[in-house]
């Protein structure tokens, strides 16, 4: 079959299109959120009994945690773009999507939502052993995030101290979702203590399972309400807890990365938090950390903690209809400095790096978002394999 254009009858050529913008190859791209999902079988050998034999029988919470209801894609679960089970898969895929260095997030969000803390501890440790033994040594391009039981901060901290020193570990994974007390509360301090000790960034990623993604799940019917919209307000509440409960006053060097909770809400959040705080500062002295530290107020305005302590991974970035509004939002949210590129591969909201070139982002901003911001934020990112 020949394909031609008419009237010049020029022959068209059959090509393999490259949908990832080739300009991305000119940058040393860091992807700050890419999910690896090993088989449970690969983790089982790292577990002790009774978990080794029983791990597949744990209560199947969130068995239907998948956007398939809303996309009509049966059988893919969360692995909509494919599945990376091992280091070879990861390297092949990041080459395809134009990424130089990847930070792997644990693909298992489901166990995080289980209330059986013993199983959760076992799953976390097995995942981390798999990561440091089988994945990170494969290439200095692959970095990893520890999976911890953040429901039990003491055991979460123990796990950080057990494996946090390994080369290639750069961060610690936690989730924001309807099943959790906001991570900013003082009961989580053992986790932050251990993370700071090891120069590890702490990540707060959207999580848990249908429908408990958010305390606002009551009354939702659709994926868009639940994951698209309500999760954003849950994220805002979690960030609010970090700032207002003095987490960054107690741990000034603690660095957070917020994932998949949006960020275009920042202008409202910053102005509103400052205003409410200035009008209602009387309860700050009662939060646990302030009692402990003998302080009455925050050390700075709520909005001022973003620059020093909080960054956002970029996925899923949303585009206003008017392209100029994107530019304004970037300015209002300090996007060129506060956004770190992430693909979220292989989830349904996968973000290729194309937007950095197709939207209003300055040349300096592209370089920062695609890599420099992450390299400057994660203290251990530069560590060699």
């Amino acid at each position: 079959m020949n394909v031609m254009t008419d009237p010049r009858r020029e022959h068209a050529t059959r090509i393999k299109p490259q949908p990832i913008d080739p300009r991305g190859r000119g940058y040393s791209v860091v992807d700050t959120d890419f999910h690896i999902v090993p088989d449970w079988e690969a983790l089982r050998k790292y577990m002790k009994e009774p978990y080794r034999s029983e791990v597949n029988k744990f209560p199947p919470v969130g068995g239907d945690y998948s956007p398939k209801y809303a996309t009509g894609l049966e059988g893919t679960g969360q692995e909509v773009q494919g599945r990376a089970k091992d280091a070879a898969d990861v390297l092949r895929i990041i080459d395809e999507i134009g990424v130089e260095t990847v930070i792997l997030s644990p693909g298992f969000q489901r166990p995080q939502s289980m209330f059986n803390l013993g199983i959760l501890d076992a799953a976390c440790s097995a995942y981390n052993d798999f990561l440091v033994n089988e994945i990170l040594p494969a290439s200095p391009r692959i970095k990893g995030e520890l999976m911890i039981n953040h429901r039990n901060p003491e055991s979460g901290a123990r796990e950080i101290r057990r494996v946090g020193h390994h080369r290639g570990v750069v961060s610690v994974y936690t989730e924001f979702g309807g099943n959790y007390e906001p991570i900013g509360s003082a009961k989580h301090d053992p986790i932050f203590e251990a993370a700071v000790e090891h120069d590890l960034v702490v990540v707060s990623h959207i999580g848990t399972f249908w429908q408990q993604f958010t305390p606002l799940h009551q009354g939702t019917r659709t994926w868009t309400e639940l994951v698209g919209i309500s999760a954003v307000s849950t994220c805002m509440a979690f960030v609010g807890s970090m700032i207002m409960q003095g987490m960054f006053d107690k741990y000034p060097s603690l660095r957070m990365v917020i994932q998949e909770g949006g960020f275009w809400w920042l202008p409202e959040f910053m102005a509103r938090a400052d205003d409410y705080y200035l009008s209602h500062p009387g309860d700050i002295k009662l939060v646990e950390r302030k009692v402990e530290m003998g302080e009455q107020f925050l050390r700075k305005l709520p909005s001022e903690y973003f620059d020093s302590n909080i960054r956002f991974s970029s996925q899923p970035v949303c585009f206003p209809k008017n392209h100029m509004h994107f530019k304004h939002l970037m300015e209002m949210c300090n996007g060129e400095d506060w956004l770190l590129y992430s693909s979220d591969w292989p989830h349904a909201t996968f973000d290729p790096l194309n937007w950095v070139f197709h939207q209003h982002v300055s040349e300096a901003g592209r370089k920062k978002i695609l890599g420099d911001n992450a390299r400057n934020w994660y203290p251990r990112l530069k560590q060699d394999g």
């Binding site: 079959m1 020949n2 008419d6 020029e10 059959r14 949908p19």
Partner: protein, 81 residues
């Protein structure tokens, strides 16, 4: 298919040919890699369904992508740009 600077996706659905711009207007996926459902192509990245006959988006037909006329001439498939 590459024709000049254009990437065009050509589909043969049971002998009927359709040609549309290959790059998905959402975030730029390559539509020729998407599965076909009826006379629609489903974008491989975020599953927006594009109608092959008029290029419209199934969920919001106010949005569309460029379509091209296809004529058959013997063994040749001619795409009119």
């Amino acid at each position: 298919m590459q024709a000049g600077r254009r990437e065009i996706a050509v589909f043969n659905i049971e002998g009927e040919y359709f040609a549309i711009a290959n790059s998905c207007p959402h975030k730029g996926a390559s539509l020729c890699d998407g599965p076909i459902e009826g006379k629609m192509v489903r974008c491989p990245w975020h599953h927006w369904n594009w109608r092959l006959d008029d290029g419209k988006l199934e969920t919001d037909p106010r949005q569309g992508l460029r379509t091209f006329e296809v004529v058959l001439d013997g063994d040749d498939v001619i795409v009119r740009a």
